[in-house]
Subunit: 253 residues, 2 copies
DNA sequence: ATTAAAATGATTTAATTTAATCACTTTGGA
DNA sequence: TCCAAAGTGATTAAATTAAATCATTTTAAT
C-alpha cells in the first residue's frame, strides 16, 4: 500500500476501527512495531489518540482525564472550572441549549444523570448525551462543518428560532466588550446568534484567554447575555469594567 | 459509590472515558481486577465493548472486524455483502441519502475515499463521515431516537422533502411484498418514507432474515423502490416472485 | 559522490497484563 | 438454620507488550 505517509495511514485506520493494537497497525502500514510505537507517541503528544498497554483509540472528544498535551495546549483546567459553574445553573427538568465546542461538551458531561432536555448543534454532544436515558436530545440539523463537527446553515437555525429553552450556553473563540462574541464565518455566527435568540437565560462560557480577540463576523453583542462565565485570569481593570455591565459575571476558580 | 450494579457502573464509566484500563475500572467500581476481567468478558461476549491486552473501549459502532458475538448474532456477513453491492452503485460526485442503521453504516465505510455528498438521519454515520475531507455531510436534525441514535420528527423530514439525492439507501427491520417496508413507530416510518420521496434511485438494503416480517406502521410499499439488495438466503419461490417486480433485485453473495 | 542527520528495524530486557487456581464470602432456597 | 451455588478476591505462573539499545538504511544537502 504505502501510498501516503504513515501517520495519515494510522489515523485513517483508527477512524475505521475503534480499538486497535500495535500489531494491527504493523500489518496495515507494513512498518515495524518499533516505528509504529514511535508514531503513536507522536500522535499521543498531539492529543489525537489515547493509548494503554495494548490498545490505541482515536480520541472521539469524550476524554475526561485529558492527555498531557491537551492540558498544556488548551487551558483545560479553566474550561473544567467554567463548566462546573455552568452546570450549577441547570435544574432537573430544564430545557437547555448547547452551542458547539469543548467547553459545552464539558457541561454535557456534568448533566448525564439529570433529567433534562437538550438541543444542540454539536454532533459529539448529541451522540454522547443520547446514550443516557434521562436525557432527551435534539440536534438542529444541517450541513456539518468539518472543523467543529457541528451543524451550520438555515435549516438548523430555523429550529433554534422555534424553540424556547430555559438556558442557552454559548461558547466562543473570541469575545470583547466592544465587538461582542465573534465567529470566523457567517454560518457559524448565525448559528450562535440563533442560540441567543429565544432562551430565557443566555450564558456565555468563555475562558479569559479569548478575551479581546475577535474574528470577522460579530454574532452576539455582550449585552444580549444574562450571564458570562469565565476564569480568574482577567486583569483587574477589565474585571471592573465587565462587572458593571448588564450581565452577571461569574468568575470560575 | 457502588450504588447500582457493577456492569452498569462499568458501562457508564466507558461512556464517559473513551479508552480505559482495568485498573481504572478497579478504582471506579472498588472491585478486584479479577472481577473486572470477568465482567469485561461478559460485556465483550455481548458485543458492547472491545478489548485489547491493556485497554477497553465502548463499541461506538465503527468496528470493522466485528467481535465474534456480533458475527453470530446479527448475520454480519450478509450485511457486508449487501453493502459491497450497494457501494458499487455510487459514483464520485453523487449525492446520496443514508437511512439510519448498521447496513447503511457499512455503506458509509465504503465511500470514505470518494467525493460525494451525503445526507443522513444517523448520528454515527454523520460523525463518522464528517472526518473525511472528501465528503460533505448533512444531518437532517430533530429529536434523537435513543435506540437507533438517529433523528426523527417533522423538522428532519421537511429537509428530506427539500432535497433531491441521486440515490437513497434505505434499511429496514422488516419487509414483505404485501406490506412493504414497515417500522415500529410512526416517527421512524415517516422518516424512512421521507428518504424514498425525492431520490432518483431508491434502494432497499435488507437481509433476507427480515423478509416476511412486519411492524405496525407501513412506511414504503416495495414498488416504490428502484432497486432491492438482499442476500442469497431467500427461498427459490420468493426469489421468483420478487424477480418479476418493478424493482431490480440484486442478490449479494 | 560524500557525508551527516534522521528514520527505521531487530534484539534483548524490563514492565505490565492476563489466565488459572484455590480459598473465602455472599446469596437464595429447602 | 443449613447448604449448595454463584460470585468474589488473592496469589502465582504464563503470555503479551513496551522500552532501551544498537546496527542499518534512507534522506537531503553540499
Amino acid at each position: 500500500m504505502g501510498k501516503y505517509n504513515r501517520l495519515d495511514q494510522i489515523m485513517d485506520y483508527l477512524k475505521l476501527h475503534n480499538l486497535v493494537t500495535v500489531e494491527e497497525l504493523v500489518i496495515a502500514t507494513e512498518a515495524s512495531p518499533a516505528t509504529i510505537r514511535r508514531d503513536l507517541i507522536k500522535l499521543d503528544q498531539h492529543g489525537v489518540i489515547s493509548r494503554t498497554h495494548g490498545g490505541v483509540t482515536l480520541n472521539r472528544f469524550i476524554p475526561s482525564q485529558p492527555t498531557t498535551s491537551e492540558k498544556i495546549h488548551k487551558n483545560f483546567n479553566e474550561k473544567q472550572l467554567i463548566a462546573d459553574v455552568a452546570a450549577k445553573l441547570i435544574k432537573p427538568g430544564d430545557s437547555i441549549a448547547l452551542d458547539a465546542g469543548t467547553t459545552t461538551l464539558e457541561i454535557a458531561k456534568r448533566i448525564t444523570q439529570m433529567p433534562v432536555r437538550v438541543i444542540t448543534s454539536d454532533l459529539h454532544i448529541a451522540l454522547f448525551l443520547s446514550e443516557f436515558k434521562q436525557i432527551e436530545v435534539t440536534i438542529i440539523g444541517g450541513k456539518i462543518d468539518d472543523s467543529s463537527q457541528s451543524c451550520i446553515g438555515e435549516h438548523g437555525r430555523s429550529l433554534l428560532l422555534q424553540i424556547n429553552p430555559d438556558i442557552s450556553f454559548i461558547s466562543c473563540n473570541s469575545w470583547s466588550l466592544s465587538k461582542g462574541v465573534t465567529a470566523p464565518t457567517e454560518d457559524k455566527a448565525l448559528i450562535k446568534a440563533g442560540f441567543a435568540e429565544k432562551a430565557d437565560k443566555v450564558v456565555l462560557v468563555a475562558d479569559s484567554s479569548k478575551y479581546n480577540s475577535y474574528s470577522l463576523f460579530t454574532s452576539i453583542p455582550l449585552n444580549r447575555f444574562t450571564d458570562i462565565i469565565t476564569d480568574n485570569h482577567l486583569d483587574t481593570e477589565t474585571l471592573q469594567v465587565l462587572q458593571n455591565q448588564i450581565f452577571k459575571l461569574h468568575i470560575a476558580s
